[in-house]
């Protein structure tokens, strides 16, 4: 007779783990994939707003203004960045994305009055032309990095790490190293490319101070310098970035995406965005630079509610990566060919996945033409269509953000505050240091004495 335990799945060695061990034994190589962590971690969904009631009064949704203007880089730059909304576009490389996608992003960002960011691989002229405000990344690889582009930038982002792979470098597999990508990166065509994880010309925070000054000298102290960190030891790292002279600190939580990296990094390195933003704000506060050094938060920001919660926790702006790709059709069952939607479920199937589950950006065979360098696939995402979609998405986020801010009685989205939030789970309450909903209890805080 079969006993129940004879068919019981092991908790520790479940089907996922068994499949992983079998695959590793067969190939002897780790898995490389795109996008971000798939596991559930405490996130902004675990917070809710205490919108106005008798104790606070709300603003009228249609008649009363709620400002979204955002200024970044006020500390030392002569020309800080002024944006119409606090939602920016994160650095994504030409190479991982097609030129059409880069153009669509630049156009949408410019239309809604926000900034976009270059990526590993340098600045393309299409991107510069289509982006009103362009942040130029200085990455460890220095692919295509040059002083002419630096002088055309509106801000510089010194990338120390990325939430999806803090401590690791990027990857671009051979299929995506097209002639143009290879030429921009000074690499042979078609190789499996590994980006460096450390900068070639400086090591450690003292050197970083000098490096930031070099960039300021070269750009005549005109434009802001951001420092981007993958969220690990956030409190220390933010302080070191501030000490090194950053005008803006960008903190990217573990839910942040990537075009390709080792799966072990994506799921097992870094801390979630929720505690990262709280620690970053505390670090800025302890250094007495709140309001002087701006904080941009990224890693799994999807909705206007996420934006509002990040701002309420103390961020000055957020930055979006994966969600931008999704607005452009990532994980959609079809693409728009100019006349109608064309179903590509079979192409997802060839990659061994399906719409809704795909994370195969590393292959360069993106069924909807977003993360590809293959001309026939790239055509599937036309800049006009993409720019319109992304503009709609950013507009929706902004409307949701101002809706929540008004309901909290704020005439400026930057007036959202921690006091407007509570947590739904003990974990989120502990990580964000907010009270658990319906209680005064903040896990980790000393108990309040009964009066």
């Amino acid at each position: 007779m079969t006993k129940k335990i004879d068919l019981e799945e092991s908790f520790l060695y479940d089907r996922h783990v068994l499949e992983y061990i079998h695959r590793a034994s067969e190939h002897g190589l780790y898995d490389i994939r795109g996008l971000g962590a798939k596991r559930r971690v405490p996130n902004f969904d675990d917070l809710v707003f205490l919108t106005a009631s008798a104790s606070r009064y709300p603003l009228e949704g249609y008649r009363e203004k709620c400002l979204t203007r955002t200024v970044l880089g006020t500390r030392r730059a002569k020309k800080p960045i002024t944006l119409d909304i606090p939602i920016t576009i994160a650095g994504m490389s030409f190479g991982s994305l097609s030129a059409n996608v880069k153009e669509a992003i630049g156009r949408a960002a410019s239309e809604v009055g926000t900034s976009t960011t270059t990526g590993d691989g340098g600045m393309t002229q299409e991107e510069r032309a289509s982006s009103k405000t362009l942040v130029y990344q200085c990455l460890p690889s220095r692919y295509g990095f040059n002083p002419q582009d630096l002088k055309q930038a509106d801000a510089i982002e010194m990338v120390i790490g990325q939430g999806a792979k803090p401590g690791g470098g990027g990857m671009l597999l051979g299929l995506k190293v097209s002639p143009r990508v290879a030429q921009m990166r000074t690499l042979p065509e078609g190789i499996d490319q590994r980006s460096a994880c450390r900068h070639p010309d400086w090591t450690g925070p003292d050197d970083l101070t000098i490096k930031i000054n070099e960039l300021r000298e070269i750009t005549d102290w005109q434009i802001p310098i951001y420092v981007k960190l993958g969220a690990t030891r956030v409190r220390d790292d933010v302080k070191l970035a501030v000490k090194a002279g950053a005008d803006v600190v960008v903190v990217d939580g573990m839910q942040g995406g990537t075009a390709a990296t080792q799966q072990v990094f994506i799921e097992h390195a870094g801390i979630p965005t929720l505690p990262a933003v709280r620690q970053a704000v505390e670090a800025l506060d302890e250094m007495d630079v709140l309001g002087e050094v701006q904080l941009v938060v990224s890693g799994g920001i999807r909705t206007g509610a996420d934006v509002a919660k990040a701002l309420a926790l103390g961020a000055d702006a957020v930055s979006l990566g994966q969600a931008v790709l999704m607005a452009l059709g990532c994980n959609s069952p079809s693409y728009f060919d100019g006349q109608e939607q064309v179903d590509v479920s079979d192409e997802y199937a060839k990659l061994g996945t399906g719409p809704g589950y795909c994370h195969h950006c590393q292959t360069g065979l993106c069924p909807v033409g977003v993360t590809t360098q293959i001309p026939e696939l790239e055509k599937r995402l036309q800049p006009d269509w993409g720019a319109r979609r992304l503009k709609n998405y950013l507009q929706t986020l902004t409307m949701e953000l101002t809706t929540l801010a008004r309901a909290c009685g704020k005439s400026n989205v930057h007036h959202l505050e921690r006091e407007d939030l509570v947590a739904l789970t003990v974990e989120a309450a502990a990580m964000a240091k907010l009270p658990l909903a319906g209680t005064d209890w903040i896990p980790g805080d000393p108990p309040k004495r009964e009066s």
């Binding site: 002083p147 000074t186 690499l187 190789i191 460096a196 010309d201 000298e217 005549d220």
Partner: protein
């Protein structure tokens, strides 16, 4: 043509910021195209981001990033330099009459970096098309992940030379302590002798190209490979 007029800038009287502003906006346009910098005293970021065919003489020692991101200019340092001299240089020439600290010529896309003395570790790291000639020795991990260009070492090379090389080529006259992952010694071809000869002639160093060994990528790390064992 270089102008015969010469402007002297004393870094005991002007700041590095004023110096660089002058070098970016005035030299060669509203003032002579030759300048000498006095009392550099190890200051960082001297003469960075230049973009004009001018000549700059630094009379003393420089700190980090001297000549960083240079385009067109010829910069001569009559002393030693700190980390990352001529980092990300695009064109022009930087000459160091003394010694250079770590990461000399890091990520240089073009131009010539000539160090008359020795250079410390990671010389030519991430090189992207520039040429580097070192009169003395280079430290460990030199030309790490170098993508294109040449590193010519007239003395010895430290451990891990050319680790994870791409298409850059290294020429060493002296002893190689050890090679890094995926770097290998290859026979010199006529083309190599010509390249070394041409680079040496630009520096005036008196040694024969025939004395050099060639180190280049074995290209075993160009594609993911299960047998490549821990070297990713």
């Amino acid at each position: 043509m270089e102008s015969l007029e010469l402007e002297s800038i004393d870094l005991q009287k002007l700041s590095v910021r004023q110096l660089n502003h002058y070098l970016h906006h005035e030299i060669g346009t509203t003032s002579p195209s030759r300048v000498e910098i006095l009392n550099p005293n190890g200051l960082h970021n001297i003469a960075v981001g230049l973009d004009a065919p001018v000549r700059v003489d630094v009379r003393g020692h420089g700190g980090y990033f001297l000549g960083g991101m240079n385009r067109q200019a010829r910069i001569v340092v009559h002393g030693n330099v700190g980390w990352s001299v001529a980092e990300n240089m695009m064109s022009g020439e930087v000459q160091v009459k003394g010694f250079a600290s770590q990461c000399a010529g890091a990520s240089a896309h073009g131009g010539l970096l000539f160090i008359e003395g020795s250079a410390s570790s990671r010389c030519g790291i991430s090189l992207k098309g520039g040429d580097i000639v070192v009169g003395g020795h280079v430290g460990h991990m030199s030309a790490f992940m170098a993508q294109a260009g040449h590193l010519v070492v007239c003395g010895d090379a430290g451990a891990g030379l050319g680790d994870s090389l791409y298409e850059a080529v290294i020429y060493v006259r002296g002893k190689i302590h050890s090679l890094g992952a995926d770097a290998r010694e290859e026979p010199m071809a006529e083309e190599d002798y010509a390249t070394v000869g041409q680079l040496l002639s630009r520096t005036g160093l008196d040694c024969s190209p025939r004395e050099f060994k060639r180190v280049a990528s074995a290209k075993t790390l160009y594609h993911w490979n299960v047998d490549a064992d821990q070297e990713y």
